[in-house]
């Protein structure tokens, strides 16, 4: 290897090391720019995949009916999700009125979004939605369906956002078990056999907690957290007391492998 080649290798490695020292927000900004550039091509690829997969179905139904059906389904889901949120608001409002302690509760606007691709990487459970910062979406915003929590946004580009699923180990959410005072942190498992159907682990519970299978797990809405309180995450499948704390195995409320539309909770109304 001649001197020029050695100098080139050293220069490229130096640039790589410099890149690794860039702040996470700057890295995210670069990723966002890259996503914006590649977005039309990735969408075309995903659309082709979707079209190929639905050839049989299209032969059986009329296009117009399908479009209308999809529109009604989205509308129905949005209304159901809004209804769930309103119920939660009503319950909380009653509780606060009873305690004569009125405080303002932030309510969120539901931004419907369509999933354009899922599970693009081997080690992380993510999906991409067709909403970006042009629609008011920002990083760390909750993503839900009418059934419960899906995950939260990470990198957001102009017209797209990456959503890290609740089944990913890096998606940690403060939560509580309904009907108890037990609070903990829920996350996915590192390796999910079938990522979208994976189980969740809720840690830092009391080891003597009285937790039964079937109890609902809700977001706790901790201060400065991304999630408002009361969103359904899943149901307890099993409780395991450990040496210092307890761990609950939780089944997610949302079937993550079959959802096509989600809602992003954006800002205050």
């Amino acid at each position: 290897m001649n001197k020029l080649n050695i100098a080139l290798v050293v220069a490229i490695l130096a640039v790589a090391i410099y890149f690794s020292t860039i702040s996470p927000s700057a890295m995210q900004a670069m990723q966002s720019g890259f996503m914006s550039m590649l977005s039309p091509f990735l969408r075309t690829g995903s659309a082709m995949q979707e079209n190929l997969g639905s050839v049989g179905r299209r032969l059986q139904t009329l296009d117009e009916l399908e479009v209308e059906n999809k529109k009604i389904l989205v509308e129905n889901r949005e209304l159901r999700a809004q209804n769930n949120l309103l119920n939660e608001l009503e319950t909380e409002n009653s509780r606060l009125r009873m305690a004569l302690d009125f405080r303002e509760r932030s309510s969120f606007k539901l931004m419907p979004a369509r999933i354009i691709s899922r599970d693009a990487s081997t080690w992380w459970n993510t999906l991409r939605i067709n909403r970006g910062f042009e629609d008011g979406v920002e990083a760390d915003m909750p993503v839900v369906t009418e059934l419960g929590v899906v995950g939260k946004t990470t990198t957001v580009s102009k017209n797209e956002a990456i959503v890290v699923l609740v089944t990913d180990e890096t998606c940690r959410i403060g939560c509580k078990i309904d009907g108890t005072r037990e609070q903990g942190i829920i996350s996915g498992l590192r390796i999910q056999e079938k990522a979208a159907e994976g189980l969740l682990q809720m840690n830092f519970l009391s080891k003597n907690a009285k937790i039964e299978p079937g109890q609902q797990v809700l977001t706790a809405g901790v201060a400065h957290g991304a999630f408002p309180p009361g969103l359904v995450i899943g149901r307890v499948k099993e409780f395991r007391p450990r040496a210092l704390d307890g761990q609950a195995v939780v089944e997610p409320a949302v079937q993550l492998d079959s959802i096509e539309d989600v809602f992003v909770l954006i800002g205050k109304k």
Partner: protein, 184 residues
């Protein structure tokens, strides 16, 4: 010089095309949700064809785009920092570049083996980096398949990929084919 530029341009376009295709392909449920990875294979072919300095430019480009494509940032933490893939592709490319004489004598075996090993190696490095970041080493059948299956698939596709490119190259008029750096 122009033949190198043509090959580099082909690599640049090929890498982007590989990203689009592998993004559209769903995970293989029969192989523990392993993904098909095409980018390391595309890079390996360029690395055994291009001269060393051009290969380094290709490694930088491929690594940089790979990091941007699969960067995972949650709560202000980056799991695999930008630049890691550049280092990986520089190492892989340096090894692949040494097999240029074999490729010139139409021996595709080194390219096939490097595609498989490079793809699995890339996933192994990602897995080890994540393990280092999160702590606690987990190794099971699913991890093994997610690392090995993409490598095996890349090795299976590699001869077909080489053959397809050779056929496309035959369609190019002789004048421009003479510009290509590889003897086919």
């Amino acid at each position: 010089m122009s033949k190198i530029l043509i090959d580099l341009a082909a690599l640049f376009a090929g890498v982007v095309l590989a990203f689009i295709i592998q993004d559209a392909l769903p995970p293989m449920s029969d192989f523990h949700s392993a993904h098909v990875l095409l980018v390391p294979m595309v890079f390996c072919l360029a690395a055994v064809v291009l001269p060393f300095p051009a290969m380094l430019i290709g490694a930088f480009y491929t690594g940089f785009l790979s990091d941007l494509m699969y960067m995972h940032v949650v709560g202000g933490k980056v799991e695999i920092p930008l630049g890691m893939s550049i280092v990986f592709f520089v190492i892989l490319g340096s090894i692949a570049n040494g097999f240029q004489p074999a490729m010139k004598s139409r021996n595709v075996l080194p390219f096939v083996v490097l595609s498989g090993v490079g793809t699995s190696g890339y996933l192994l490095v990602q897995f080890l980096t994540i393990t280092l970041q999160r702590g606690g080493f987990i190794w099971d059948e699913a991890v093994l398949w997610r690392i090995l299956a993409p490598g095996l698939i890349a090795a299976l596709i590699a001869p077909l990929f080489y053959w397809t490119l050779s056929q496309i190259d035959r369609l190019i008029p002789d004048g421009s084919r003479k510009l290509r750096s590889i003897t086919r």
